[in-house]
């Protein structure tokens, strides 16, 4: 009986992240428009965009291979699995012991690998631009993320995200410098990975400023819908990750009653809203960096995360 309940909670989590992801992006876009004194698209517009794309015919280049056609599904699957492993309204999920934080980082890496390959598949220079810039950004963002994972694992004693979230919730943590440094690094990495200003412009049509858009330039119809859904999921994943680790209040513990889940759900939606609004304010307030300033930005994130880990190592025996 308990097994079935756990399975339902895990399945519920997977559905929740899938359904809420476009709403988060819609909120960010609406807030950005409002800050620029525009009306902006409705909150539910991303859902409408996805449905519209699904109904359209997919136009595929003549020399695109089978990899081009299955890559969207692989990217979506990897991102969805990673997002399903991050605690949202409840921690201690049923399959959380099968994949820890390092697996989540690596799953996002797989999604990026196939996205870059899909970009290079048709053999245009736009795809090449996107792929080469994306792997440059990833070569610095992924180690920074792993160092953040190390810091969290050293504080909480495990790399499993449920254990980390539970430890942060238990309040024995205090305000640590390493946590502060790793929060700053995680925020920088999150901005880079989700292709947000100042690293990449998600709404651009200029080759000079494209990274993510350049890789998906050749996609259309249902393939593009799947890839868009994957990028919505990725944003949700990062906001949930930051929320569950650094702002863990309200998350229901494993096996708690329905009331705790409802409270957890409400807290989660509130965290998403706050995260979305903060992201919109940040994106509006800052200008996009030129491409070769991004490695310095991410190099700083890597340094900060490495410093956080070093401090954890050096002050462990004190």
């Amino acid at each position: 009986m308990a097994v079935i309940a756990d399975l339902l909670v895990q399945g519920g989590q997977m559905l929740v992240v899938l359904l809420l992801a476009p709403l988060l992006t819609g909120l960010v876009r609406k807030m950005k428009a409002r800050l620029l004194r525009r009306q902006g698209p409705p909150l539910l517009q991303p859902y409408r965009d996805l449905l519209r794309l699904l109904r359209k015919e997919a136009v595929v280049a003549e020399n695109a291979s089978w990899l081009f056609r299955i890559a969207p599904y692989l990217i979506f699957a990897a991102t969805w699995v990673a997002a399903a492993l991050v605690p949202t309204f409840a921690t201690g999920l049923m399959f959380s012991w099968s994949a820890d934080l390092i697996v989540i980082v690596a799953l996002l890496g797989s999604a990026r690998f196939f996205l870059a390959l899909a970009g290079m598949d048709v053999g245009t220079s736009f795809g090449g631009i996107g792929a080469s810039r994306e792997v440059m950004i990833a070569s610095l963002a992924e180690p920074a993320m792993i160092m953040v994972v190390f810091t969290l694992a050293l504080i909480a004693g495990s790399t499993q995200l449920s254990t980390v979230a539970g430890y942060m919730l238990s309040g024995g943590v205090g305000l640590r410098v390493s946590l502060g440094l790793s929060l700053v690094a995680l925020l920088m990495v999150a901005i880079a990975e989700n292709a947000r200003i100042p690293v990449d412009n998600p709404a651009t049509h200029l080759e000079l400023t494209m990274v993510h858009e350049a890789m998906v330039l050749e996609y259309s119809g249902r393939h593009l819908a799947v890839i868009e859904a994957a990028s919505f999921l990725k944003l949700l994943l990062y906001v949930s990750l930051i929320g569950s680790v650094f702002a863990p209040w309200g998350v229901a513990q494993a096996g708690a009653g329905l009331a705790a889940y409802v409270i957890g759900g409400a807290a989660y939606v509130a965290k998403l809203a706050v995260g979305g609004i903060l992201l919109a304010v940040f994106e509006t307030a800052i200008a996009k960096m030129r491409v070769f300033r991004v490695p310095e930005f991410l190099g700083a994130a890597l340094m900060l995360a490495l410093l956080a880990t070093l401090l954890m190592f050096m002050t462990r025996s004190l």
């Binding site: 699904l54 979506f76 290079m120 053999g123 090449g128 190390f150 880990t309 070093l310």
Partner: protein
């Protein structure tokens, strides 16, 4: 019959095939016969080694053959560690032989390859089985010489001759270091058998010297920076299945030599040895992969990637030494298991990638990435196998590369318990360098697969390529299957490695076969666990769910048309990105410091119709600072000493006279 005896019979069979190949080389069926027989012998040896590892026969008693030094004989033995490496060697050997049946048909000089190939396999097996210093060194040198002969197979190419020359020099240097190391290990008692060496523990003053010598000797063969310079020259020069063996297997034999001497024969380690290994491992990993990213030649790129993976293995070994020196045996077992798992994984996916490169070379005659493109349409099976290899080497779940990387990270996370300050600073730095290299590997293989297989064909050879023969495909797909299996069921591999860890560091990881759901739990359930099978099942479920959902609710219409390319499609394939273009951002970020990479553009004046030129200059700093001066000094000294060729008879006689007087003086003083 013991396992040792059976294996010696297989090796004798391989040597006999080698001799027979000398006679047969001109015959038409020679390729099929020689490679087929070598495959059979390697497969038999693999079966025996697997039986030894799985049935946990423990130690086989040593066999002493009356060869070599009369008072020593030649000792051969298999224990847990050598059993593992014998599996790796023979797996690689069997697959390469299978591949060779198809690949060897295109060989232009079979008489230069066929006799040496089985001998190479035999030599590697013998090194792993050797139980005394003399046979170890003899077989090591035999292995080096035979592989040198294979590197020189296409000797008309000046590049290959230079590669062979440098390989021979560094291999000889390595053997000299190992000889000195064994001499110091044997000590004044002079017993060369490994049993006697274990008992005669060297003093704490000599142990660092021996470590340095072994690092120089075995490290140079494995490809540690800065002794790696021969590897990117020699590995591409050999035929592709031999390259697969050299990169995937021979470097592992060198790692075996290192582990055998440092972990087994040398006695209890000091904590600062871990710092040395971590340092050289980290810089090998970083320099290896960055150099790989800058390469245009596919096989040279793969050779540099081997250097990177050897760096990762040495990081794991360094961690194991550090833990061992601090009496944390369970953590040492974790680190050593991670390193040995990576040894197995690398042999699998690097061999796969080299076999794929060989298939491309066979089908198109090309090694230059910038002339390839669109091969996924012409060679679909090879493309699929190469993609699997690329995913595996980039450490992406759920394939096997990810598991060894995950285990190494878990070992790094255990290391705050280490008390020494040097280790406290160096271990997280090594972890960061490892994470950086892993991300760069993914970048590198996006470049390789994207340029070689995706896009449009950049030359006619590639536009008309045909898929290779069944034997090559069978070998590659076999490796793909093994990569997938090792990734989904890593618990079994860890259990197979456990006896070796127990032998070397005195502890082992908990038995993984009984963990529910076939997860792996390296330390404790509460700490961390990973389940490859479940992750794979999740991904498969999510992908199928998405496919089903889309196909039910979305339109299935699809239309083929010209590429969009923002409305400006260019029909010429040379406007695509090249390998150098994909690597350019990374070259600008990392290369300007490490390789002094500079880009130069020469623009003609307005009105001048000559072409503009774009040039990238990169310098190999290790060669310029380390090797070129030594070569210069040796050349200078050789020139000066050349005068001794032209002395008169009187002068030669006086040389003899002076030497004799000098020796007599020494005798007078010493007695």
């Amino acid at each position: 019959m013991t396992a040792v005896a059976l294996l010696l019979i297989c090796i004798a069979a391989l040597l006999a095939i080698s001799v027979g190949a000398v006679a047969l080389a001109r015959a038409k069926a020679a390729t099929l016969l020689v490679y087929g027989a070598a495959c059979a012998a390697s497969a038999a040896a693999l079966a025996i080694a697997l039986w030894h590892v799985i049935a946990a026969a423990g130690e086989s008693p040593a066999i002493v053959l009356p060869l070599g030094l009369p008072w020593l004989g030649a000792h051969f033995r298999i224990d847990a560690l050598s059993g593992l490496f014998l599996v790796v060697v023979n797996l690689g050997g069997a697959a390469a032989s299978l591949y060779g049946i198809g690949y060897g048909r295109h060989e232009s000089a079979p008489a230069r390859v066929l006799p040496f190939f089985p001998a190479f396999l035999a030599g590697m097996n013998l090194v792993v089985m050797a139980d005394d210093a003399f046979s170890f060194l003899l077989c090591w040198e035999f292995m080096s010489l035979v592989s040198w002969a294979l590197v020189m197979a296409h000797h008309r190419d000046a590049e290959n001759t230079r590669a062979g020359y440098i390989y021979l020099i560094i291999a000889s240097f390595g053997t000299l270091c190992l000889l000195l190391a064994f001499g110091l290990l044997a000590g004044p008692a002079g017993g060369y058998g490994f049993d006697e060496i274990r008992i005669a523990a060297p003093g704490s003053a000599l142990a660092p010297v021996i470590l340095a010598l072994v690092l120089l000797g075995a490290g140079s063969k494995a490809g540690l920076v800065p002794l790696h310079v021969w590897l990117p020259l020699a590995h591409p020069a050999a035929p592709s299945h031999v390259s697969a063996l050299m990169s995937g297997v021979m470097t592992k034999v060198a790692v075996y030599g290192f582990i055998r001497i440092v972990f087994d024969l040398l006695g209890p380690p000091e904590w600062w040895w871990a710092m040395v290994l971590l340092f050289f491992g980290s810089i090998s990993a970083l320099i290896g992969i960055l150099s790989a990213l800058m390469q245009q030649d596919l096989k040279r790129l793969l050779a540099f990637s081997t250097i990177e993976n050897i760096g990762i293995i040495f990081i794991g070994l360094g961690l194991a030494l550090g833990f061992g020196a601090n009496a944390m045996e369970w953590a040492a077992a974790l680190a050593l298991t991670a390193a040995l798992f990576h040894v197995f994984n690398h042999a699998l996916f690097k061999s796969l990638l080299f076999l794929g490169a060989g298939a491309i070379l066979n089908a198109t005659g090309l090694r230059d990435l910038d002339k390839m493109g669109g091969l996924i349409h012409r060679m679909p099976v090879t493309a699929f196998a190469f993609l699997a290899g690329a995913v595996a080497i980039s450490a992406l779940p759920p394939l096997n590369g990810f598991v060894s990387e995950w285990l190494t990270f878990q070992a790094v996370l255990v290391s705050p318990e280490l008390p020494q300050w040097g280790l406290k600073v160096l271990v997280p730095t090594a972890g960061a360098m490892m994470a950086l290299s892993a991300a760069l590997v993914a970048a590198c293989f996006v470049k390789v697969f994207g340029i070689a297989f995706l896009g449009r064909a950049r030359s006619t050879a590639v536009a008309e390529a045909k898929e290779v023969d069944r034997f090559s495909l069978a070998a590659m797909l076999g490796f793909v299957a093994l990569c997938v299996l090792a990734g989904l069921l890593p618990g079994f591999v860890i259990d197979a490695i456990a006896p070796a860890a127990e032998l070397l560091v005195g502890a082992r990881l908990p038995t993984q076969a009984y963990v529910p759901w076939l997860s792996i739990v390296p330390v404790a359930e509460a700490r961390s666990s990973y389940n490859g099978l479940l992750v794979f099942a999740f991904i498969a479920f999510s992908a199928s769910f998405a496919v089903v959902l889309i196909h039910r609710f979305a339109t299935r219409a699809i239309r083929r048309s010209a590429p969009w390319d923002c409305g400006f499609p260019d029909p010429s394939p040379i406007t695509q990105y090249t390998g150098g273009s994909v690597a350019q951002p990374i070259r600008r970020v990392f290369g300007s410091l490490l390789f002094l990479a500079r880009e130069q553009v020469e623009m003609p004046q307005p009105g001048d119709t000559s072409a503009a030129r774009f040039r990238v200059e990169m310098r190999d700093l290790i060669w310029e600072i380390g090797y070129a001066p030594i070569a210069g000094i040796v050349g200078y000294a050789a020139d000066r000493l050349n005068r001794m060729q032209f002395l008169t008879i009187r002068r030669y006689l006086s040389l003899v006279f002076l030497a004799l007087v000098g020796l007599l003086l020494v005798l007078v003083v010493w007695l």
